[in-house]
């Protein structure tokens, strides 16, 4: 009566369909990888011709996507190694974590020229050098928060879990796999999602740029976009935007959503808050009979293997107990020595570059810094102005906040520089000066971090405080000053810190813009860095990047850290 026969039959067809779909997807993936691998051997060519027809876009998109994934794999490997070492060695930690903090803050785009020249020198004949340079640039935009998250998770593993691992004589590898990775999977998945999104930001620059008069270009959606912008081809710009959005959505639905659902099983807390995440892909996979069979076969094979080779663990355990820490220590010392040597060499190089910058140029850099700082403040101000009221109103409704989250996430993943020409074109119609336009362009990317955090903060306003405000008739402006603004303050600060970092970095591409064959620029640190790159003026480039890094670290240490402390002490909701 409950499960009728025809329903059973249609369910069987459904399962068959799912299995065929999965086989098809798998085949496509394999052939895609094979094709991509072939591209790397293509001979190096400066200024690859980019085909602006929409038909060429899917191919370009896949190429860019493969670079993003390669960079992500690199980030993941770096994260696992760096995070593990930093969490296990007290001495290494003291150097590695501040280093990570600085790495997160500095404008990575400034390193592109040096990296490209080095890589092209290493691989003069094939595209490998350029590809690697592009991948490393994407990597530098992805890696920081992943490593921070992994390190943070490792540090917060309950001591009992480590004790269980020791009492049961887990090998080093088993402990890493079952305790450390399991404890950090959730944070790692969320941060991977953010990182992958952040990695696209400079795609238009990473795939196509000029350096000292030479034009370097890789086929991809980023260079498609930059060529379209250069020529002022609005239709091509539009198609590139569509392709980019589709790619972001596809990666989110096919990869991240399922991973988020899967990672839920690693949650240590036993109480679940709110409804668990869902993914249609996971639902499909769970319905697949083929996968279930494969899983069963795999499980049986493993069991059989385990029976065939009964517990031969002791020697391995002994190795782990004694040798692993020694190996780790040797590794740490070696790594420490190597990085010291590298620092010394780099420092010497740096000084020799900086002495070539004269006092007048330093003065110009300082003025440019102030100008860009003003623009950043303006961009953040604009972001706060609209995201706080809108975010609070929407975030207070659980329905709307749930509906909007994926939209905001997609918007935040979209590389804002791709929209710069359209926005600039529109604003120029109203005769807005380009100095102001640049600030608005910086705001474009930064606003989403603020909105995202305000939404999260507004949905975390405790129900009883809301109810108390109702009972005591705290309405209108009083409601904002007593309840909403203080509640979201910690979230707002977190959002602003991320947005500020993004805005500073964005100034490099926002303050100078090639639009319809015409270069627009406004005075600022971003412009100086871009121009130095273009002219191959390495002393000025180095000085510019250094100035921006210095300003960022200084702002973090003073303004942001103070606000953060205020948020944590006074406005924390942990009562």
């Amino acid at each position: 009566m409950k499960f009728s026969r025809s329903a059973a039959r249609s369910a069987r067809f459904e399962r068959l369909g799912i299995d065929l779909l999965l086989l098809g997807a798998f085949g496509a993936l394999v052939s895609g990888v094979v094709v991509l691998a072939g591209r790397w051997h293509a001979p190096i060519r400066t200024a690859v011709e980019i085909d602006l027809s929409p038909l060429a876009l899917p191919g370009y998109t896949l190429l860019s996507l493969s670079r993003g994934f390669a960079a992500y794999l690199l980030s993941l490997a770096f994260t696992l190694v760096y995070g593990t070492v930093a969490a296990h060695s007290k001495r290494a930690e003291k150097v590695m974590i501040p280093l990570l903090d600085i790495g997160q803050g500095i404008p990575v785009l400034g390193f592109l020229p040096g990296l490209v020249l080095g890589m092209v020198a290493l691989f003069p004949r094939t595209n490998v050098g350029l590809e690697l340079a592009c991948i490393v640039m994407i990597f530098t935009a992805q890696v920081w928060n992943m490593t921070f998250s992994f390190y943070g998770s490792l540090r917060s593993i309950p001591a009992e879990l480590h004790e269980v691992a020791r009492l049961n004589r887990f090998s080093w590898w088993k402990r890493f796999r079952t305790v450390e990775v399991s404890a950090s999977v959730i944070g790692l998945v969320w941060n991977s999602m953010m990182s992958m999104a952040g990695g696209w930001f400079f795609l238009t620059v990473n795939e196509a740029f000029t350096l000292g008069g030479r034009d370097f270009r890789l086929p991809g959606i980023g260079s498609y976009m930059s060529v379209a912008i250069e020529r002022g081809d609005t239709r091509a710009i539009f198609w590139a935007i569509v392709a980019m959005v589709l790619m972001i959505l596809a990666v989110d639905q096919l990869l991240w959503r399922p991973l988020v659902v899967w990672s839920e099983r690693f949650r240590i807390e036993e109480i679940t808050t709110g409804r668990p995440p869902t993914s249609w892909v996971v639902t499909l996979l769970r319905k697949s009979r083929l996968l279930r069979r494969l899983r069963r076969t795999f499980r049986q094979a493993r069991r059989a293997a385990a029976q065939a080779a009964p517990a031969a663990a002791p020697p391995e355990a002994a190795w782990a107990a004694g040798a692993a820490p020694v190996a780790l220590r040797v590794l740490t010392v070696a790594a420490g020595g190597a990085s010291l040597a590298a620092c010394a060499w780099g420092g010497w190089k740096l000084v020799s570059l900086l002495v070539q910058v004269d006092a007048q140029k330093w003065r110009m850099l300082a003025l440019a810094l102030l100008s860009t700082a003003g623009r950043t403040a303006l961009a953040l101000g604009l972001a706060v102005l609209w995201t706080v009221p809108v975010g609070v109103l929407l975030g207070r409704s659980p329905v709307w906040s749930r509906r909007l989250q994926p939209v905001v996430q997609t918007a935040a993943s979209f590389p804002a520089p791709m929209l710069y020409p359209l926005v600039t074109g529109a604003l120029l119609l109203f005769h807005v000066p380009f100095g102001l336009i640049a600030a608005i362009l910086m705001f474009l990317g930064a606003q989403w971090y603020v909105l995202f955090n305000v939404l999260a903060g507004a949905s975390a306003i405790p129900h009883d405080l809301d109810e108390a405000s109702d009972v005591y008739r705290v309405t209108g402006r009083g409601r904002w000053t007593t309840l909403y603004l203080p509640s979201i303050f910690p979230f707002l600060v977190t959002g602003l810190i991320t947005a500020a970092g993004g805005a500073w970095n964005a100034s490099i591409v926002a303050e100078t813009l090639l639009y319809r064959g015409k270069t627009m620029e406004t005075f600022g640190l971003g412009t100086l860095i871009t121009r130095a790159t273009h002219d191959g003026d390495f002393p000025l480039l180095t000085a510019g990047v250094l100035t921006m890094s210095f300003a960022l670290v200084l702002l973090n240490r003073t303004v942001w850290r103070r606000l953060y402390r205020l948020a944590e002490t006074r406005y924390s909701l942990n009562r």
């Binding site: 409950k2 499960f3 099983r265 009883d464 405080l465 008739r473 705290v474 909701l573």
Partner: protein, 442 residues
């Protein structure tokens, strides 16, 4: 409730008539929280609403003062229909609901928002309210510096600062330790009886029987699923009340009886119920039921329900659920307020942990809910069923029950008896894979 159902309207500070309240739960089904509730707060009384968790007593309070609208029925204040919030009611919350970024003084001042007091009188009132709850000197403290008891004093001061007629307290002492709660209870009585604040009546929501008898002039017992008024018990004991006073105990016992009647209705003698009838399962775990059986066995196989309640740290509703579950499985019998170990229960206590499994399984397979489920799962032995399918099935079997907690109970019982396997990660239920040949389907 016969003689109290129709007070003169001007006497009623707040009242609800024939109120229903329904919510949509997470599965999109309508859940009836309150059903046909009549409730009145009169001038100059402390009325306590008592009931197990989930009976909708907090919802009743919120409907009464206009925080949420009823689905059906009328809400009045002083005999007039209530529009918006009750004009002279204040609320003390279970978890204090203090603004963490405001000082004690500022938090208390929140209670004056929108009230027509001048700056000077406002300040004087805030100071007086803080004095009255014994927090003088702490005006500038932040909530996180205060203990739980002190936080609740701030909550009370905030409620009293505007001089309300009606004070509503939603489980105000349950987030506090036992001693602090005791102290605050006496103080609340003192604040109410000292009429200088203009406070006329108090509505107190609680699940603790002694608290209800200590403070209430009238105790309204609510039953759960859906929440309805079971009985109103007047409490004429003079203040100060003493827990060990025989009169106090008599009223406690009377409430016990009412709650028992609500939860464990007497069955027709001879256990005429059909063996395989599909009955709802109370939310009790196998571990708790086995614990109950052990306690009974240690006390000669027979105990008073309230003695059991006093021995465990469960609240009364939980005790009732566990006893009901054990009774459903025929491990205990409950004539009146007694709980007796049956032969099946004795056999289970005597059995080793591994022998308990088949015993439990045999009892489970006498329940219609389990036989139906096992039969359904056996149709496709190597296809697990998704949770939503099973919940839908349970929904058709037991339309009045909430399928989500019901399935949780089914899983808890069925897993322990090795009837089912359940994978939390995939939310899939299947027959136990390694089922021994003994007695899967007798």
């Amino acid at each position: 409730m016969p003689n109290e159902s129709n007070p003169a309207p001007e006497e009623a500070i707040a009242a609800v008539r024939g109120v229903d309240k329904t919510f949509l739960d997470e599965t999109g089904r309508e859940r009836v929280i309150l059903k046909g509730v009549d409730f009145t707060v009169r001038k100059g009384e402390v009325v306590v609403v008592l009931g197990p968790s989930g009976c909708g007593k907090s919802t009743l309070l919120r409907v009464l003062i206009g925080l949420i609208p009823p689905t059906r029925g009328t809400v009045t204040q002083h005999g007039r229909p209530l529009e918006g919030l009750h004009p002279s009611a204040a609320v003390v919350f279970q978890n204090f609901a203090l603004f963490p970024w405001l000082s004690v003084e500022e938090n208390v001042r929140v209670g004056l928002t929108g009230r027509p007091f001048g700056a000077e009188e406002g300040t004087a009132r805030v100071k007086a309210a803080i004095d009255r709850v014994g927090l003088a000197g702490n005006e500038r403290s932040m909530p996180k510096e205060l203990s739980g008891g002190m936080k609740q004093r701030v909550g009370i001061a905030r409620a009293l600062v505007s001089g309300p007629e009606l004070l509503c307290m939603d489980e105000p002492f349950s987030a506090l330790d036992v001693l602090t709660a005791e102290l605050l209870r006496s103080e609340v009585y003192r604040l109410w009886s000292d009429r200088s604040t203009g406070l006329s009546s108090v509505v107190l929501i609680t699940h603790i029987i002694e608290e209800a008898v200590f403070l209430g002039d009238r105790i309204v017992v609510l039953g759960a699923n859906p929440g309805t008024v079971k009985q109103e018990i007047p409490n004429p004991l003079p203040h100060p009340r003493e827990y060990r006073d025989p009169g106090f105990q008599r009223i406690v016992d009377r409430i016990h009886d009412v709650l028992t009647g609500v939860h464990l209705p007497e069955e027709p003698a001879g256990s005429a119920r059909a063996e395989t009838a599909v009955l709802p399962l109370p939310p009790a775990s196998v571990g708790e039921m086995f614990g109950l059986l052990e306690i009974l066995a240690d006390h000669g196989g027979e105990m008073d329900l309230f003695a059991i309640d006093a021995m465990t740290d469960w609240d009364f509703g939980r005790t009732i659920s566990v006893v009901k579950g054990a009774e459903l499985l025929d491990f205990v019998d409950t004539p009146k307020n007694r709980v007796l170990l049956t032969d099946a229960g004795r056999a289970l206590v005597a059995a080793s942990p591994s022998d308990r499994r088949p015993l439990l399984r045999r009892q489970l397979l006498r329940l219609g809910t389990f036989t139906t489920l096992v039969r359904e799962l056996a149709k496709t032995p190597d296809e697990p069923r998704r949770g939503e399918e099973v919940r839908a099935l349970l929904g058709t079997l037991l339309p009045g029950e909430h399928p989500v907690p019901l399935l949780q109970t089914v899983i808890n019982w069925g897993r322990r008896a090795q009837l089912f396997d359940y994978d939390v990660a995939t939310d899939e239920l299947s027959l136990y894979a390694g089922a021994s040949s003994d007695d899967t389907l007798a």
